[in-house]
Symmetry: C2
Subunit: 695 residues, 2 copies
């Protein structure tokens, strides 16, 4: 699609603006201006419903580097005049606009597209005008066909060409004047019509229109362009303190470095570490979230801050800053980026509590309010008071935390509970960071109500945790992912799917064990182009929970674990599915997801194709981890541009098996003992006898 537009552009004369695009902005609202004579009332063309936009441009839409932005708008005018229009776009930090022609599709809807090559913010708008010369050409043809006298019309056209000769580049000026003369002098109406409407004259007149009465859509719309990883990323979550070589020995960043080869081998490209900062002593939680700390209990990494420092410090047991930088560099050599956890909250021992008591809420007895959601109490944590008088200082300090770690080389942040800090704070913070580092990625770890989840994505979070964890049936998965990929969220909400997290061991995994884990792994890795696992636990198929809860039994949040070096039972499947993701561009997008019919409610059938359909993946998952399930599925041949009269060759990327199917209806069986799913790569037919050169 990109190539098409490029070609089109090179054959079409480049638009030239005699004058810079006027900014029509005024202190008055558009509605006020239309109701006065403040605008030039002769600007008759109206541009409505410019897309893509979120809430009329209140928020930017999201794309990643190299993606196409397809722009469309309704463009109308009074009377029978012909219209023309252009798409204008530029990087926000540059002043020159680039332009492309818009084309009328149908029902007064016009369309074009531009590519956003680099991360950063882009602006776009549409300009449209009455094409008086095109109208004249059209009327002239009708009159010649009806044998009406056109002598005065030809004079009118000649005047337009002469006027245009003053605004075109010098090389076109003389030819236009010459053309004006020979049109008027043409012996026959038919000859005049040909001279007035041929390709050359039409191209030049369209390329250099009179824009003095053109209309421009206001306000400009925005596109936030992210790094490719914002769309396609494969996350592995690991507690570095559990990387020690011996049981219950506190692991270090150096230990962690030794795990990188394995993690890379499994195909992950983001290594996400829970908070690495000093952990508070006061009210430190013991094993299994006990309020009574045991001897030597390390505490929850989310209880940030002690006499050893706060959000800009490293827990001494993990190593020093040079060890952390070494880890970043070692990871980079494996193609892995380190993601840090941003948890804007403090242990009661955090230096902020003493140095900036004004940032915390005090109770009538003078003590600082700890976190609570009654009757639940989180005594090892005190929240910031975002309604405090000194909010600007607080905001700036928190920004400096992010910039501190960016300075050390971190570019990805997983933000803990963003929905417990104000929206305006995040919108400001992310914008401030993006202005200097547009490639930085923020993942919102919010599990809350839908409109809050969406708002966080709209105001800037590049990826979001989802309800995937609790969507298990075919109906649940289909309706939720249709919402994410077909409705409004597609322009701003990028799902990052997690079958498990340190906080969530879902009921389905507790019930179905290793086989259920395999099902959820395939779903998360193929439904979305970004997914992650809370690694060692998942790899080893640990699925024992605290009864009646979604908490892991003996959770790693409160104690040090030691993971065996040898392969966990799911490692092989993880490696295969990640390889499929790396090698198939169809799996590197999310908005291309489509569900297809299969006549068994335990089987889920869906597919993805890349933009030119050179890569097509079809997935069938057995949602039942206990029993074999069979069904008839219907291949969407037309949608996938597959010739229905030809055989379809499919390779299952999990089992390595091959299939040849004839026609759309095909029977399949999935036995959970063997495999949770088929991940078919659709092979193109190479050729038939008709394609031979000498056929």
């Amino acid at each position: 699609m990109y190539e098409n537009y490029r070609n089109l552009r090179s054959t079409f004369p480049v638009f030239n603006f005699g004058t810079p695009i006027a900014t029509l902005r005024s202190k008055r609202s558009p509605i006020q201006m239309e109701r006065t004579m403040e605008n030039d009332g002769r600007k008759r063309v109206v541009i409505e419903n410019l897309q893509p936009s979120i809430e009329c441009g209140r928020y930017p839409v999201k794309r990643c580097e190299g993606e196409l932005v397809t722009v469309s708008a309704d463009i109308i005018c009074d009377s029978h005049d012909r219209l023309d229009a252009m798409l204008l776009f530029r990087r926000e930090d540059q002043s020159d606009w680039d332009s492309l022609p818009l084309y009328h599709k149908d029902n007064d809807r016009w369309e074009s597209a531009f590519v956003v090559p680099q991360s950063g913010t882009y602006l776009f708008t549409v300009r449209a005008w009455v094409d008086h010369f095109g109208t004249w050409q059209h009327f002239l043809a009708s009159k010649v066909n009806a044998d009406q006298d056109i002598s005065i019309d030809l004079q009118a056209g000649a005047i337009m060409l002469e006027e245009a000769s003053k605004r075109v580049p010098p090389e076109f000026s003389r030819p236009l004047i010459d053309r004006a003369r020979i049109i008027v002098d043409a012996s026959e109406p038919a000859a005049a019509l040909l001279l007035a409407t041929d390709k050359e004259i039409t191209a030049v007149m369209r390329a250099y229109p009179d824009l003095s009465l053109s209309s421009e859509y206001s306000p400009y719309l925005k596109v936030d362009v992210d790094s490719k990883k914002a769309v396609f990323s494969t996350w592995y979550e690991l507690f570095p303190r559990s990387c020690g070589s011996e049981k219950s020995m506190h692991g270090t960043f150096r230990d962690c470095e030794r795990k990188l080869a394995q993690i890379a081998e499994m195909g992950f490209d983001v290594l996400y570490l829970p908070p690495i900062h000093p952990i508070g002593i006061t009210n430190r939680k013991g094993r299994n979230n006990s309020t009574k700390e045991g001897v030597g209990d390390p505490g929850s990494p989310w209880a940030i801050g002690s006499s050893d420092g706060g959000h800009k410090s490293i827990e001494p047991a993990l190593g020093g800053m040079e060890d952390f930088v070494s880890l970043i560099n070692a990871a980079a050599s494996y193609g892995i980026e380190i993601a840090l956890d941003i948890a804007f909250q403090c242990s009661p021992d955090h230096p902020y509590v003493k140095e900036h008591p004004e940032w915390f809420k005090k109770r009538p007895d003078g003590t600082i309010q700890f976190a609570e959601n009654p009757p639940k109490r989180y005594e090892d944590i005190v929240p910031f008071d975002f309604e405090c008088e000194e909010w600007k200082e607080l905001w700036n300090e928190l920004k400096s935390v992010v910039l501190f770690w960016i300075d050390k080389g971190v570019r990805i942040f997983r933000v803990d509970n963003p929905h417990t800090k104000p929206f305006p704070f995040w919108e400001w913070l992310i914008s401030e960071v993006r202005n200097r580092y547009p490639e930085v990625i923020f993942l919102a770890e919010a599990f809350t109500r839908p409109k809050i989840m969406n708002r966080l994505a709209k105001i800037g979070f590049n990826q979001s945790y989802t309800y995937f964890t609790w969507r298990n049936t075919k109906e649940e998965i289909t309706s939720y992912f249709n919402e994410l990929t077909k409705d409004k969220p597609v322009e701003f909400f990028r799902p990052n799917l997690w079958p498990n997290t340190p906080d969530i061991l879902p009921e389905y995994l507790q019930a179905g064990g290793q086989r259920a884990s395999a099902v959820r792994l395939v779903l998360s890795a193929t439904l979305s182009s970004s997914y992650g696992i809370y690694g060692p636990v998942f790899e080893n198929a640990v699925t024992s929970g605290v009864p009646g809860t979604e908490e892991y039994l003996d959770s790693e949040k409160y104690e040090i674990k030691s993971w065996k070096e040898e392969n966990g039972p799911l490692k092989n499947l993880i490696s295969k599915i990640n390889r499929a993701r790396r090698e198939n561009s169809a799996l590197q997008e999310t908005r291309n997801l489509r569900f297809y019919p299969v006549d068994n409610d335990y089987l889920l059938f869906y597919g993805k194709a890349n933009s030119d359909r050179s890569n097509i993946i079809l997935v069938v998952v057995n949602l039942d981890p206990f029993h074999s399930q069979s069904g008839i599925l219907k291949l969407p041949l037309a949608e996938l541009s597959i010739d229905p009269s030809q055989p379809v060759y499919l390779d299952d990327l999990l089992s390595g098996e091959h299939f040849v199917w004839n026609g759309p209806q095909n029977s399949i069986t999935l036995d959970p003992e063997k495999s949770p799913a088929f991940v078919f790569s659709v092979q193109r037919q190479l050729r038939q006898e008709m394609q031979f050169e000498y056929y």
Copy 2:
């Protein structure tokens, strides 16, 4: 519904604003402000998707006097805090805001409603804030239930009550301080909880919230409120020159006055006259649109202007200005308003052409460009050039035309071909007129592409002609009217349905004659609350067209007609259907239209209920004018709040017949020889034995 809100309001303490509503408007866009520290970052509450609005508030929504505006918005905030919100509204020309509480419905959507009593423009917005006292009440209850210590919480609550005592009216101040004390001193947690959460304290604290960190939706949304007639009107179109008592004698306004009694008797309340101005001589059209004028041909009334004057003059053969004013007054005595035609175009003889040649386009030979849409030519008309340099003078002159006739007493204008004049012109003109005369109604006579029709309605036209004329089948009618009454247009587009006009004798009427006319009459009068007929022709069931066209044969546009005094064949049906409209408030709205199932594609079944469902009309129309049709229809008992175990009593307002139906499924037959339709009034059950007082 109105009454409900009124009651609610009187029991709820009236909100009081310590400070006037701050206007947060700034020269910078909201998106820019959010990304800086320009706003107070402690305003944590976010208001999204405020409705009703058209394109995020770019256009006002429409209501009529006395209607309810139901307002809703998504209101969210970080964390677990309780929220509260109010609806603010006022007339645009007044400065004081009125307010009502908003209520949470579900999924973070809040709702309220206000009444717009008079024509004019109203503003509304929503304000929302964190309800810290409500949050405290909620947390306190949770803690008491969990047997947690609440002594410090009680102190915190007491502080909030003391702070509130400073902002409430004096009579509440002392009680709040007293309450603070007894809460802290309460002997038991349960007693403290009761004192902290009872109705009185909750009502006072909700009514006088701390608004210092409240958020307000921006920009204000607008409601254009029209006179009741903009929604409910019954139009009769009449050429006054055909009102003469003898054939081919030019009728006068005085002749027209003598027709008023009949028109009122049939139940019309708007009498619409085609242009009443002097008609041009140059290129005057003859009978049947001939370019050769016959001797004594009167010309088309839309070729406006001659040496006798232009848009502010009256064709002398019709009478003088005093006759016109007399007609207005006589009509008013019958409850009829006169609607004038606004056709902003000129005959070549119009005084403007000589006095303001700068308002017209000149051809290279110096002549003025007549109207054309090649190969079609309209030589008796020259259009204004809305791209001329002197556009402001032209706009002001055209405005003065409208004001001239308003000054004579006209309040309704049917605007001819508004889609051939620029949108910005109409938006300005209508706004200027409404500022002084908000009761004025403009009907857009545009038959063009959908987005242009919609745009005209959005920018201010109070009523619009529609595609109804070409929607004849069940599928066509259902999908078109669902679009008008359920989709976006419901907020701005008010359909005015015409089974015929002087320009359009539809194929269906030409084929089906009088019976087809009867079908279309019932449809137009019941589908929409505004409809009209091109009167004498329709009443007399004239359906002869120029073959292969939608033009009337011997069209009244080009010649003088004389209509017999006696009853036309459709007069009786017209009177009945108009009486049904007058007597049933359900038929006086359009957005309440709902289609219901019937198992025959020639039968159309639909209904309307008024807002409290005290009036319900069900309509079944036989779309086949030639044959009897039967079907089983399904009454929507639940939707109409009819008890399915009880009989339903129906009166057909056309035949006078009575029906008793048991249960939802009922068989009906319509014979076009007898009637085109049933227009059922649903009768309420009076009572059963259970309702007797002594049962």
